[in-house]
Amino acid sequence: MKVTIRQVAINIALILILLWIIYPLFWAFVSSLKDDVEIFHYPPSILFSPSLAAFRAVLSGDWLNYFRNGIVVSVGGVILPLIIGVPGAYALARYDLPRKNFTMLSILSIRMMPGIVMLIPFFLMFLFLHLLDNYLALILVYTTFNLPYVVWIMKGFIEQIPRAMEEAAELDGANLGLIFREIVIPLSAAGLLITGFLCFALAWNDFAFAFILTNINRTVPVGLSSLIGSRQVFWNQIFAVGVINMIPAMIFAYLSRRYWARGFTLGIVKG
């Protein structure tokens, strides 16, 4: 096979793109392995004796709480939207509801809404309800922003399940619950996973709402920002948290990479 200049150029471009993606991540990884003195060294070193001091610092006491809180509100921010949203997606996929298009697009608009706008109202609302610093407050907020994802993505996946299967099951006497359990959920599993992941990511990574709605029961992003506002910015600890945050997400994302296109286009891409 002839190797043309064009192919070489393309390969170079591809490698550059790869490097471009890796560059910040490389520095984050490398910096997380530095100890508290090495991190302030200039020029920033690549060869040094690695230390796990940063990881030990962030896997202690307060930080373990932050991780736990993050997991709780994120799991809640997945389960609640799924419980509310999947039946809704089903209804939109199967039935000719009145003003269906308007409903769909309005739900999408919620996703577009700038979250910042809701900061003060939510803060005061939860203050009055004595739900500040409570997991429920964050779960409710995240559900609001995650429901549009669930409805849109699951609608796309549910539409792909042939009606014939459900009709046959109906004729056999199955009720709606059974249809859900045996047909809808298994066949739209990929959609559930993508949606679940996107919902989890939104909740896990949220900063603004967690910042204002929590005091002691903080999540990881808020903990990160408090590392910045202090006397000495321990970058190695910040990046250690980042590495811990990143790894599960990256593994999961890589394993499910086939479904990303569908997820990001809200199920519009069928291929």
Binding site: P87, A91, S225, F264
Partner: protein
């Protein structure tokens, strides 16, 4: 059974309505007040806040219009750059090359990293005392650049961060479209003797146009809302160069000057602006979004 199960949509509607109507109503109420949480209670001023913000003759409005302009200009520019760049890279990646496959797999990574962490990584990279970028440039003799505290530089620096984080999203969307193109049409066109650029213009572009539009809508609306970057990296920028609307709202509601009425006024205006823009975009292309490509 059919009719009753169409009620399944109700929980969604009820929940979303409750969680958006009450806060919005509260915002409207707040925007009619002059209320500084630092001292003194609320004072009803009617529409005065809106007049103060919008009327060209009031002393507060230049700051608002500056903020508005920066939000639109920055958001629009980065979206445009990301679309063009994203398309170019997507075309590059839509092949069977090994490196391309690897790059495709890595594309998701910038999107799943905690955004606030990403901003901190870039803050470190840009740090004049510690950052690798500073060091790298110093090897070329470029010394003493302030990436985030001088006016043209701050826009470039912020744009780079945004590009790094979100171009992959555009690429993924476009790749999804490119990879779903039916190959037979391309092969047929090549057999008919069409040149590469003709194929591109008459075959590729129209087919992926819906995807470009999806990417446009998502990116533009998100770019208008940019907050994390500003908070972590520039705090409004040299003078008010990066004082985007969302940062302005945050800073005035929750910074030292807790002007909650003013913040609520800005929030409502911002809210309306984003809804209007996204509604125009979404409804214009609604045919495409709602299932132009449905094959069942």
């Amino acid at each position: 059974m059919r009719r009753s199960s169409s009620l399944l949509i109700l929980p969604v509607i009820i929940y979303l309505t409750a969680m958006t109507i009450f806060p919005t109503a509260y915002l409207v109420y707040l925007s009619l007040l002059d209320w500084n949480l630092l001292g003194g209670g609320p004072r009803f001023v009617g529409l005065q806040n809106f007049i103060d913000v919008l009327s060209p003759s009031s002393p507060d409005s230049p700051a608002f219009y500056n903020s508005l302009w920066i939000t639109l200009a920055f958001g629009g520019s980065v979206t445009l750059i990301e679309l063009v760049l994203g398309l170019a890279i997507a075309l590059l990646l839509a092949r069977e090359n090994l490196i391309a496959k690897l790059a495709q797999g890595m594309l998701v990574v910038p999107l799943v990293i905690t955004p606030i962490l990403l901003d901190m990584i870039w803050k470190y990279l840009y740090s004049p005392l510690l950052g690798p970028i500073t060091y790298a440039l110093s090897l070329f003799g470029i010394i003493g650049i302030d990436y985030l505290s001088t006016i043209p530089n701050v826009y470039i620096s912020l744009a780079i961060v945004d590009l790094w984080q979100w171009t992959p999203l555009v690429i993924l969307i476009l790749l999804g479209g490119l990879l779903s193109l039916p190959r037979q049409q391309f092969e047929a066109a090549e057999l008919d003797g069409a040149t590469r650029s003709q194929i591109f213009r008459y075959l590729t572009i129209p087919t992926i146009l819906p995807f470009i539009i999806i990417a446009l809508i998502f990116r533009l609306v998100d770019a208008l809302k940019v907050f994390n970057k500003i908070y972590i990296l520039t705090a409004g920028g040299p003078a008010d160069a990066t004082d985007t609307l969302s940062y302005r709202i945050f800073h005035h509601s929750l910074g030292f000057t807790q002007e909650v009425g003013y913040g609520a006024t800005l929030s409502l205006l911002f809210f309306v602006m984003v809804i209007v823009i996204s509604t125009i975009l979404v409804f214009s292309f609604s045919r495409i979004l709602l299932g132009g490509k449905e094959k069942t």
